[in-house]
Amino acid sequence: MENNTGNGQNNYQTTPCHEVDYDRALPIVLGQIFTYGDLFTKLSFLIMGFSNIIRGQIIKGFIFLLTEVMFFYYLLMENGGVYHLGRLITLGTNPASQGDGDFGQIIYNDDSRKCLLFGVATIVIIFAFIALWAESLRSGYEAQYFVAKGKRPNSFYRDIQIYFDKKIYRTLLFLPITGVLIFTVLPIIFMICIGFTNYNMEHNGYTRLIDWIGFDMFGKVLHMGSDPDGGVNKFSHTFWTVLGWTLIWAVATTFLCYIFGMILAMVINRKGIKYKKFWRTLFITSVAVPQFVSLLIMRSFLSEFGLLNSVLRNIGISDPPNWLGDSNLAKVVVIIVNLWVGIPYTMLITTGILMNIPAELYEAAKVDGANAVTTFFKITLPYMIFVTTPYLIQQFIGNINNFNVIYLLTGGGPNLDLDKYQAGDTDLLVTWLYKLTMDSKDYNLASVIGILIFILSATFSLITYRSSGSYKNEEEFQ
């Protein structure tokens, strides 16, 4: 080992070789490789793996070369990448037509949705290829560097070993990232694109093709006030009303669950309470039962002729309220039911943290003569909020997107405000989005709503999360 380095030192005198700082941005790294690289390395910019093949890393070099050949074959072949990129711009030109006669079969031609999908997929493939290309250049330069230092470049077997040691992150991340790319990233890019098209009930994508319409839909949704021609702009009216209720809902449920869950945890934690474990289990049972079961049952209890109202009628109240049928009452009821769902969960999370609060703080407060309420607001709450900020944000965003409670309890109803487009009075943005996709097929509107929900949650979380201690001091506990 020592000898080897010694030899390398000697060679270093004759053929100059430069360290490339691979931690810098990609264009700078590539630029350095290009300036320091010899002819073979420079040629690798065109013929991937050339430098590796010349310097004896034959298998590796040919793998690079093969992927390059395959990539360009895919781009240039008939109905290949270039064709898909072209169709991404036009979104199809040739709609499906009906064959001869009244009952002729439909002849399918272009499908705008697939044009868009394959176009986006091609772009993802191109990016993946660029990453691989940069990697091949890096590997080619490394081979040159090794040879210049008088060492043998790694054998293929050694390279594979490295993928289980130093570069293990690549081996472990490969499959998970591929899965995420295909089933999360690609669909999300696709749906974002849909927001800029006219894909809806009238333009189904194959008999009536889709076109790019730019920011039109965003304008319609965000536009405040009434239409130029006097009528109510249904999209924006619905959006702002639903957004208002979503925020009220998210704030109310997050904080009520948090406070009451914590109080419950403190009550059970109190000195002198026996069978603590039994009490906790009692409440946690409701978390353990799948949410769709407990919520569907709640709905059947609360319905107009459900169990609750039957019991009320039996007691003698002849005209019990329709719990989920009146818009204001329904809003209160969903918040209360959500408390029923959420309080045990908060209790579960906070129990452990509550016990970690230093006892000296409470003793000091006792000496100063503080009562229970003051202690709670001056010691417990600030401490808890400090420790659980990330959890609170997560809950807040979770509540903005709380699909289950609303969808299963009220389905968004009651539907009393007829100026709203496809949304009921308790609809949150997510449930509205769901209805737009499933019932009215307003895909582009749904996509715009999805993007706006994203912007909403991203703003809330990134600001708070990035400034929180647990993000900044990630290494602290290691």
């Binding site: 931690d23 999360t184 749906m191 059970i268 039996n314 045990p344 959890y391 996709t437």
Partner: protein, 292 residues
């Protein structure tokens, strides 16, 4: 002086006792409110009288008929609850294996290995998590359609497990608590990072492995949205959650309500046992992630 102190102590003791009693009463009332709906479901599941909105709680005749009907009497065309149960079990076994592998790989990497793109990947994962899940549902359908995969159980398995890698935060929080010195000691002894992963970190991480296995196993039992969107009207490919949901839609509710309750009990009891048994890992994992 000392007598005065004792009386003070006694009165304090008395006050403590009364608050204790009040607390017990409060807890009992609250506890009853939380458990009450489940007691009622169990009662209804043993009720012989069919129908949804009866005005009494305790059944007039008890029987096991609902449970027997649930597994034998076809719903809709000729599908029974048993088919759905089988589908769900199959799907969740495959999903558990794949997602556990994905989650553990990603969280180990993000926690123990420092590489250039690490922070970027973690931020991207955060950002992707902020898009509402239903938004991409129709896109996933089109992707599956392009590969001619719609309407198959395997497509559901893919949907549930492919993106599992994004849910690495809890497990990463756990791995962060294992001292790094152990890894370093192993490296000095010449162990590769793969050996560290399989021989050192994994054996120390039983709680989080159990947690990951159980949460990924439970996923397919809860989903009632994706199934319907991908399987459309192929009722024989439904999972239990969607099947139960179908049992109390407008068409079936009046006749199937008691069977629905029986089905709910059949699904809930194993899941509740699983949940309660991993409750400890659950809180530990979560408070771990809260701390850092």
């Amino acid at each position: 002086m000392s007598e005065k102190n004792t009386t003070k102590f006694r009165s304090k003791r008395k006050a403590q006792n009364t608050t204790d009693i009040i607390t017990y009463i409060l807890l009992s009332i609250l506890g009853f409110m939380w458990v009450f709906p489940f007691i009622i479901i169990i009662l209804i599941s043993f009720r012989e009288e069919k129908g949804m909105d009866l005005s009494y709680v305790i059944p007039k005749t008890f029987s096991f008929q609902n449970y027997i009907d649930l597994f034998t009497v076809p719903i809709g065309s000729d599908v029974t609850f048993f088919t759905w149960f089988k589908n769900t079990l199959l799907i969740s076994i495959v999903v558990t294996i794949v997602s556990t592998f994905f989650v553990l790989s990603v969280s180990f990497t993000m926690s123990r290995i420092r590489f250039k793109m690490r922070r970027t990947f973690m931020n991207i994962a955060l950002i992707l998590g902020m898009f509402p899940g239903f938004m991409s549902m129709s896109a996933i359908y089109i992707i599956l359609d392009a590969f001619k995969m719609t309407g198959k159980l395997s497509s559901l398995m893919l949907c549930y497990s492919a993106s599992a890698g994004l849910g690495f935060y809890v497990a990463k929080g756990f791995f962060d608590t294992i001292p790094k010195a152990m890894d370093e000691a192993a490296w000095i002894d010449g162990a590769t990072k793969w050996t560290v992963f399989t021989k050192i970190t994994m054996p120390l991480s039983k709680p989080i492995i159990v947690y990951t296995v159980l949460t990924s196993f439970m996923g397919p039992w809860m989903d009632y949205i994706f199934v319907a969107y991908i399987m459309r009207t192929q009722y024989d490919k439904y999972t239990v959650a969607r099947g139960l949901y179908m049992m109390i839609d407008r068409e079936h509710a009046q006749t199937m309500y008691t069977q629905f309750c029986a089905g709910a009990v059949v699904v809930s009891i194993p899941l509740a046992i699983v949940f309660l048994s991993m409750q400890k890992c659950y809180t530990e994992g979560l408070s771990g992630s809260v701390k850092g």
